[in-house]
């Protein structure tokens, strides 16, 4: 089982609903966030191109954060979801430094926090909160090993990219282009 997410950059309008849904679902402390929206403008006026991306942890297969964690608090759980065991984390910051996507942050309680792909919802057969709430339905979630999952189907049909694949992290967050 390999969970993955695909975000359609052609459908995303950058409303930040995914960010608020995540904050509410996961009780993320005020001012912090586990996902965020990036707006990329390319070119010179009048030839401009716009790309909107809802970003979060890439749940890398070759996760540098898991590799560098000195206590084993960062680990890859079932389905390839990268998680943090709060009571093993010492808050050394190594994983935050090691993440090329800057996807982790220090929770005000001291441990490191990040996106969990809402695994508590996924276990019950639901989609992560960000995916479920998206008003343009621009996000797809599912198991890459299952050819009939939403994410497998859309990745087969559409062209996609991952962020900084040259970092060798094998990310599981795809962007449809």
């Amino acid at each position: 089982m390999r969970y993955a997410m695909a975000v359609d950059t052609k459908k995303c309008v950058g409303c930040s609903d995914c960010v608020v849904a995540c904050q509410t679902e996961n009780n993320v402390p005020i001012g912090y966030c586990r996902d965020w929206v990036v707006e990329v403008t390319d070119g010179t006026y009048p030839q401009l191109e716009l790309e909107l991306r809802s970003e979060r942890c890439n749940h890398c297969e070759n996760a540098p954060c898991v590799r560098c964690c000195p206590t084993g608090a960062s680990f890859i759980s079932e389905g390839g979801i990268v998680k943090v065991k709060e009571n093993k984390c010492i808050g050394c910051g190594a994983c935050i430094t090691s993440c090329p996507y800057d996807a982790r942050f220090v929770h005000p309680r001291g441990y490191v926090d990040k996106c969990t792909f809402c695994d508590h919802r996924v276990k019950e057969g639901l989609n992560p909160a960000c995916v479920a709430v998206c008003p343009t339905k621009c996000m797809y979630f599912g198991d890459l090993d299952d050819p009939n999952s939403d994410v497998s189907k859309v990745l087969k049909m559409r062209k996609s990219k991952t962020l900084i694949p040259e970092a060798g992290t094998i990310p599981h967050l795809y962007f449809l282009i």
Binding site: V40, I90, V106
Partner: protein
């Protein structure tokens, strides 16, 4: 032109607008760890070479401060932790792919070793020292029989400690400025150089000072070579590392690096040490103080600049 902005108002402290998770604690520790490694290396080396008499400062006097250097460094590391009460989790795991994990274990070995070494040499430095408890005398006598083995262990462990301070940073693929295998040898050389400088500062013997001035001169030459080599590597590498090197070649760290690290921290003390070897009178404290200050500034700059450097997407 390409402009990238986060439009959802992300403001995770310590990460936005750019990463600042490691502040003064980590570079201070890297400096203290490197300095202690340098001192212990020479103490071990000259014991193995059976030159304890000629190099009394290196073998007996300077190591006395290493337990304090390491304890202070460990305290700084503790201050850096954001989830402090769980620090003991470091010692429930051995994770070989995490340099921080094996660094923690190396410290666990070398810190008691430095305390033991200091205790064994206390009477050499202070002849009237009295331990008061016979048990301590017995323990020290017992370890005294294995002094040579301890010297070997200490020399090897100090090299690992010195090189680990660099490997810790170079293992981060996400920070292009650190992601070069030169960093391990570079930090080791710098650590040995600061160790030699500390010995010169403490030594009362002119002959010993001259030997360490020669050693330090050689280490500074190696360090300059490694720094130049590091930038050559960056310039010849991918765009991310070219951008990282620009922080030092025209960017915000250019002046502080080339003036305070390269100029006052390496070139100037090297010139002063050449003067000393040529028997030109210069106060012998200036060069080692400059080397120590340069080593400290170097670590601060590397840790801060490294956290600014990142992949571009």
């Amino acid at each position: 032109m390409r402009e990238e902005i986060i439009v959802s108002g992300r403001s995770n402290p310590l990460i936005d607008p750019h990463l600042e998770i490691w502040e003064w604690q980590i570079p201070s520790y890297l400096f203290l760890g490197g300095l202690a490694a340098g001192i212990l290396f020479f103490a071990g080396l000259y014991t193995i070479m059976k030159k304890e008499k000629e190099y009394k400062t290196a073998v007996a006097v300077a190591p006395l401060i290493t337990p304090f250097l390491l304890a202070l460094g460990l305290f700084f590391l503790f201050l850096d932790l954001k989830h402090k009460l769980y620090f003991w989790q470091l010692y429930t795991t051995i994770k070989l792919e995490s340099p921080m994990s094996w660094g923690a274990w190396v410290l666990m070995i070398i810190t008691p070793l430095s305390i033991l070494w200091g205790a064994m040499h206390l009477k050499t430095v202070f002849p009237r020292w009295d331990w008061k408890y016979p048990l301590i005398e017995e323990i020290l006598d017992f370890f005294g029989k294995y002094k040579m083995q301890m010297a070997w262990l200490m020399t090897i462990m100090s090299v690992i400690l010195g090189i680990y301070t660099g490997i810790l940073l170079s293992a981060f693929n996400a920070r292009p400025l650190w992601n070069t295998s030169i960093l391990g040898p570079l930090f080791l050389t710098s650590g040995l150089s600061t160790g030699a400088a500390a010995i010169i500062l403490m030594s009362k013997s002119h002959a010993e000072r001259l030997t360490f001035a020669k050693i330090d001169l050689m280490l500074i030459a190696i360090e300059i070579f490694l720094i130049v080599h590091m930038f050559m590597g960056f310039r010849a590498s991918t765009q991310v590392q070219i951008e990282a090197s620009k922080l030092f070649l025209g960017g915000e760290f250019t002046t502080i690096f080339w003036v305070f690290v390269m100029g006052f921290g390496l070139v100037l003390p090297a010139i002063l040490e050449v003067f000393e070897l040529q028997k030109i009178k210069v106060p012998h404290q200036i060069a080692p103080v400059l080397v120590l200050a340069g080593g400290l500034v170097f670590r601060f700059i590397m840790v801060h600049a490294g956290q600014i450097s990142r992949w571009l997407y």
